[in-house]
C-alpha cells in the first residue's frame, strides 16, 4: 500500500520537479496538474524533465484562478487518474508545487499506514470558523459570485450587496451541511472514490461551481457524507495571514520548520535554497514518531497578523500613523500629570521621585524649554529640550517621550503658564494619563514674586482664564484620563489624603504609607493677596474660598498626621 500525491503546479517548475523527484524516490505515484495559463513551452519542458520517472502522470489542464472552480476541477481530474491508474494507493495526498516535505516520506507512509481508515481533512461548519475573509461565511454558500474578487472587487461587492437587498438565496442541494477548511487534505481511496463516483455528483458540482472559494469547501463538505473517520486537521502546515494569503517560508525558518514535526509545509519561497537542500537531501534524520506540533510557528504568524492589524500601542512611525480614534492606545504606558503641586509644595519634584521611584520631570511644556528631570537637555531617544522643536509637533514630542521611556513611569508638571493648548486634549483623552489638579495654585508663585502689582494682576487674569479653559477640557465627556481636581482651599485642608491616593494609584512601592511629607509653601498672607486682587477688580475664584485672616485650618508644616507615619 502506498500514498499517492496530487500536485497542483503553476509556477517555479524547477522546484516542483525537485519535490516530485523526492516523492517518487520513496515510491509515491504522482499525478500533476499544471495551470492552463502556463505557456505551452514551459509546460512541455516540465513534462519532459520528469519523463524518466515511471509513476508520474499529467492530467487534463484547467484554468485555476484563485477562489474559483478551476482548482476543484483540477483536483477531481487528477484524483480520478490517481485512483484509476494506481490501484495500490490507499491515501491520496493533495499538495502544491510550493509544498515541501519536512519529514522523510517514509514516515508519512508509515503514519498513514497505521491509520488506514482516517481522512485528514480540516472541515468545520461556517459558524465555527474565524478565518473568513471579506465578511462572507455562510453567504459563500447561498449567494452567487460571477465577478472576480481580485480583478473586479467593486462589482463583486456591489453584486453581493444587491443580492442581500433582494434577499436572494440559493438552495443548498440534498440538505448537505456546508463545511470549510484548508484546501490541502489527505483522503482515503474509499472516501475519495465515493465522492467522485457519487451519482449525485453532477448536482453537487453544479452547485459548488458558483460557491465562493469552492476549493476550501467542496471536498470538506462532501467528505462528511462518506468518511468513516474524519480527523479534522490538515497534515500540511499552511498558515494564512489576515488577507487570506499564505505565509511564505524562507531560509531563516529552517530551525522552526525542523522543530514543527509537520509532514509537509506550504508555502516555500522558490529561492529558499537552504530549505530545499536541507529537507530534500537528509532523509537520515532519526525516526521520531511524533505528532506534528506547529505551535511555535503558529505563534510567530499570529503575532505577525496582530502587528499588521493592531500594531504597537503608542507608537507613531513611518508605517503606523493611525487616524484619530483608531490609535488603539494614544500612548504606550501610564503616566502622571501634576498641576499646581509644584507651586504649592516647595520640594514637590524630589519628594515625588523619592516617594514613588518614578521619573519626575518639571514642566515639560514650559515656554522656555522642556524641563526634563535632573536638568538634562536631551532625554531618552535623543529627544531635545528645545521649545521650538517641541511646539512644532507637541503630540509627536509627547508620544516619543512616553515611547522612549517605556518600562519607567513618567511624571511631570503642567500649568497654565505652559504651552498646553495643542496637547491638553491629547492628554485628557488618554486613558493612560493620571491627571491631578490643584486649581488656582498658580497664584502662589505670583504671591511670592517681586513684581509690580499691576503686572501680577494682569498675569493672574491671564492664567486664570487659561486654567478655566483647561478645566473645561478635563471635565468634558471626551476626557478618558483618570482626573482628580481640587481647589487649592480644599486641598490644603487635608493635603495628605489626596497625595496618598495618587501615590497608591501610581502603585510603584511604599504600600505602608508616606514616611515623608512635601514642604508646603508659606501661605501667610495669601488670603490678603487674593483680597488685593479682588480689590483691583480681578476675581480669583479657582483657588476656592480663602479667608482674608488666617483661620485655624492653616496647614501646619512638617507635622504629618500620625496615621500616615509608618
Amino acid at each position: 500500500m502506498s500514498v499517492g500525491i496530487i500536485m497542483l503546479v503553476h509556477t517555479a517548475f524547477d522546484r516542483a520537479e525537485q519535490v516530485a523527484r523526492h516523492w517518487a524516490a520513496s515510491g509515491c505515484p504522482i499525478v500533476i496538474h499544471a495551470d492552463k495559463s502556463v505557456p505551452a513551452k514551459t509546460y512541455n519542458a516540465f513534462v519532459k524533465s520528469l519523463s524518466d520517472l515511471p509513476d508520474v502522470r499529467f492530467c487534463k489542464r484547467h484554468r485555476c484562478e484563485w477562489g474559483t472552480w478551476g482548482l476543484v476541477a483540477a483536483t477531481q481530474s487528477a484524483a480520478q487518474i490517481m485512483l484509476d491508474e494506481f490501484k495500490d494507493v490507499r491515501h491520496v495526498y493533495l499538495a502544491s508545487g510550493s509544498c515541501l516535505p519536512l519529514r522523510p516520506v517514509q514516515e508519512l507512509i508509515d503514519y498513514l499506514a497505521e491509520r488506514p481508515q482516517t481522512d485528514f481533512i480540516e472541515s468545520a461548519t461556517t459558524a465555527d470558523v474565524p478565518w473568513t475573509i471579506g465578511g462572507l461565511d455562510h453567504e459563500r454558500f447561498t449567494l452567487r459570485f460571477p465577478f472576480s474578487w481580485r480583478k473586479n472587487k467593486y462589482l463583486f461587492d456591489r453584486y453581493v450587496a444587491l443580492q442581500r437587498r433582494l434577499r436572494f438565496k440559493r438552495r443548498i442541494p440534498n440538505g448537505i451541511v456546508p463545511h470549510m477548511g484548508s484546501q490541502w487534505w489527505c483522503l482515503t481511496r474509499q472516501t475519495l472514490s465515493a465522492i467522485l463516483s457519487d451519482p449525485e455528483r453532477p448536482i453537487y458540482d453544479r452547485y459548488f461551481r458558483h460557491v465562493w472559494i469552492p476549493d476550501e469547501s467542496y471536498f470538506q463538505t462532501l467528505a462528511r457524507q462518506y468518511s468513516l473517520q474524519i480527523e479534522s486537521r490538515s497534515l500540511t502546515l499552511s498558515k494564512f495571514d489576515y488577507q487570506g494569503k499564505p505565509h511564505i517560508f524562507y531560509d531563516d525558518h529552517l530551525q522552526l520548520l525542523r522543530r514543527s514535526d509537520c509532514f509537509v509545509a506550504r508555502k516555500i519561497w522558490p529561492f529558499a535554497n537552504r530549505l530545499y537542500d536541507a529537507f530534500l537531501t537528509d532523509s537520515a534524520t532519526a525516526m521520531k514518531q511524533t505528532e506534528p506540533n506547529p505551535g511555535k510557528i503558529d505563534r510567530i504568524f499570529a503575532k505577525a497578523v496582530d502587528r499588521r492589524t493592531r500594531g504597537r500601542p503608542g507608537l507613531y512611525m513611518q508605517s503606523r500613523f493611525p487616524v484619530e480614534g483608531r490609535e488603539n492606545g494614544l500612548t504606550c504606558a501610564q503616566y502622571s500629570v501634576f498641576e499646581g503641586f509644584a507651586d504649592l509644595f516647595e520640594n514637590f519634584e524630589p519628594w515625588l521621585a523619592r516617594a514613588t521611584g518614578t521619573r519626575v520631570h518639571g514642566h515639560l511644556f514650559a515656554p522656555e524649554r522642556a524641563e526634563f528631570s535632573d536638568g538634562q537637555t536631551v532625554m531618552n531617544g535623543a529627544l531635545s529640550d528645545s521649545a521650538a522643536l517641541r511646539d512644532y509637533n507637541p503630540r509627536a514630542f509627547f508620544a516619543s517621550l512616553i515611547w522612549n521611556t517605556r518600562g519607567e513611569r513618567q511624571c511631570f508638571q503642567m500649568g497654565p503658564r505652559d504651552h498646553i493648548k495643542n496637547i491638553e486634549w491629547d492628554i485628557a483623552k488618554d486613558p493612560n494619563a493620571q491627571i491631578s489638579v490643584i486649581t488656582g495654585a498658580w497664584a502662589v508663585p505670583l504671591f511670592k514674586s517681586n513684581q509690580n502689582f499691576g503686572d501680577i494682576r494682569q498675569e493672574a487674569a491671564r492664567l486664570q482664564q487659561i486654567e478655566s479653559k483647561h478645566l473645561e477640557v478635563l471635565r468634558s465627556p471626551w476626557a478618558k484620563a483618570r482626573i482628580r481636581i481640587w481647589t487649592m482651599a480644599e486641598f490644603i485642608e487635608a493635603p495628605m489624603e489626596p497625595l496618598q491616593t495618587i501615590i497608591d494609584e501610581i502603585g510603584q512601592q511604599n504600600m505602608r504609607g508616606l514616611s515623608e511629607v512635601p514642604r508646603m509653601a508659606d501661605l501667610n498672607g495669601f488670603g490678603q493677596f487674593l483680597q488685593n486682587l479682588k480689590n483691583q477688580g480681578m476675581h480669583p475664584y479657582l483657588m476656592g474660598d480663602f479667608p482674608v485672616a488666617h483661620g485655624p485650618h492653616e496647614p501646619q508644616q512638617n507635622k504629618p498626621k500620625p496615621y500616615l507615619v509608618q
Binding site: D241, Y242, Q243, K245, H247, I248, Y250, D251, D252, W269, F271, I300, F301, K303, A304, V305, R307, R308, T309, R310, G311, R312, L315, Y316, M317, Q318, S319, R320, F321, P322, V323, R326, E327, N328, V378, M379, N380, G381, A382, L383, S384, S386, A388, L389, Y392, N393, A396, F397, S400, W403, N404
Partner: protein, 336 residues
C-alpha cells in the same frame, strides 16, 4: 478627493513626465549595458557627483542584497568615479553637466531612466550614501521582499531616512574606499522623530533626528524631510515628485496604515556625516545646487565650524535591523 483635485494631480504627474522627457536631452551615455537587464531583475537608480570614494562599497552592498543592474547618472564628476563605474559589468551610466537644481535635484533624470528601463521591474532609488535596510535583510535577499510585496499586491515600500553619525568629531576618522561607512558613522537618534500627514499627496512628512536636534533646533520647520519611498514596482506612468519623498499617483504614497496596524517598512541608513562632509558642505554651499537655496548646508556649515559633534548621551549604536524594529523605527508588518 474630488474630481478637480484628482485632475490637478494628473496634470502634476504629466508635468513631471514632461520634465523627465525634456531632461533626457542633457544626458549623455557613457556605458550602456541595459541589454543585460532580464525580466524580473531588480534595478537600482542613482545620481552622484564626486563620490568616487563611496562607490566601491555602495556597489558591493547592493550587489550582496541582490540588485541586478545599476543605472547611474553622473553629474559632472571629476574624481574618476565615472570611469570607475563605466568599467563595472552590471552598471549602465549616463553623464550630464546640466544643473542638479534645475533637474529638480536629479529627479527628472531618474524619472526618465525609470520610465525607459524600469517599467515592470522593482526599482530602488537611493543615493550613494544611503543603505537600504529592510526586515530580515540579513537572511533574505531583496528578491524575497519584492516577491512578498507582489503576492501582497503592494506596489511601493517605505523606508525612512535614518541619519548616522560618528561619536566624536565628524572629521576625526578618515574614510577609506571600500570600507563600510557604518563602521564609522555607527550612531543614530532612536526616538525624536515628528510626523505629519501631507494631505495633498497622502504621504507622511517626517522630520527630526540629529539634524533637527542640532542644526534646526530653533527653526524646526526647515528641518529636512526624512520620509522616503525608495522601492517601487515601476510603471512608466509613475513619477517621483520631490526627491524620493513622494510619488504620483498618490496611492503609491500610502505606505502606512491608518487604522492602528503596522505595515512593513524599512530604513535607509544615511551615512552622510563622514569626514568628507565638511568639504562637501563648503562646495555645495558655493554651488548653491541644493534644496531651498542650500539652507541645509548653510546650517550645517555654520554649526560644524564650531562644534562638529552630533553624538549625545542618548545616541544609540547601530546593531542590526531587529534593533531598529524594536525601537519602532521600522516594522516587519505582517511579513514573518
Amino acid at each position: 478627493m474630488n474630481p478637480l483635485q484628482s485632475y490637478r494631480m494628473r496634470l502634476k504627474r504629466k508635468r513631471a513626465k514632461l520634465r523627465a522627457w525634456r531632461s533626457h536631452y542633457s544626458l549623455k551615455q557613457v556605458a550602456d549595458r541595459t541589454d543585460r537587464i532580464g525580466p524580473g531583475d531588480i534595478l537600482l537608480f542613482s545620481t552622484f557627483r564626486d563620490e568616487y570614494v563611496r562607490l566601491p562599497y555602495f556597489l558591493k552592498y547592493y550587489r550582496d542584497l541582490g540588485v541586478s543592474h545599476f543605472l547611474m547618472v553622473d553629474n559632472d564628476s571629476d574624481d574618476g568615479g565615472r570611469e570607475y563605474l563605466a568599467d563595472q559589468p552590471d552598471v549602465s551610466i549616463w553623464t550630464t553637466k546640466a544643473s542638479y537644481k534645475r533637474a529638480r535635484f536629479g529627479v527628472d533624470w531618474l524619472n526618465w531612466l525609470q520610465g525607459k528601463y524600469g517599467h515592470g521591474h522593482w526599482t530602488l532609488v537611493v543615493d550613494p550614501d544611503e543603505f537600504f535596510v529592510y526586515p530580515f535583510c540579513d537572511t533574505r535577499p531583496i528578491r524575497a521582499l519584492t516577491d512578498w510585496l507582489d503576492v501582497s499586491q503592494l506596489r511601493s515600500f517605505g523606508a525612512m531616512l535614518l541619519d548616522m553619525y560618528p561619536k566624536g568629531r565628524i572629521d576625526a576618522v578618515p574614510y577609506r574606499p571600500g570600507q563600510n561607512p557604518i563602521e564609522i558613522t555607527s550612531w543614530f537618534d532612536p526616538g525624536n522623530y515628528m510626523i505629519a500627514k501631507n494631505n495633498d499627496f497622502g504621504n507622511l512628512w517626517i522630520q527630526g533626528g540629529p539634524r533637527a536636534r542640532v542644526f534646526f533646533r530653533d527653526t524646526p520647520k526647515k528641518a529636512p524631510a526624512l520620509n522616503k519611498i525608495p522601492l517601487v514596482k515601476w510603471d512608466r506612468r509613475y513619477a517621483y515628485v520631490s526627491s524620493t519623498h513622494m510619488l504620483l499617483p498618490r496611492g503609491l504614497n500610502q505606505t502606512y496604515d491608518t487604522l492602528g496596524g503596522e505595515k512593513a517598512s524599512g530604513v535607509l541608513l544615511h551615512a552622510k556625516f563622514l569626514d568628507t562632509f565638511a568639504a562637501k558642505a563648503e562646495e555645495e554651499l558655493a554651488r548653491n545646487q541644493h534644496y531651498a537655496a542650500s539652507i541645509e548646508y548653510k546650517a550645517y556649515y555654520d554649526n560644524l565650524r564650531d562644534n562638529p559633534e552630533l553624538w549625545c548621551k542618548w545616541s544609540e549604536k547601530y546593531i542590526n535591523w531587529r534593533q531598529l524594529e524594536i525601537l519602532g523605527l521600522m516594522s516587519k508588518g505582517n511579513w514573518a
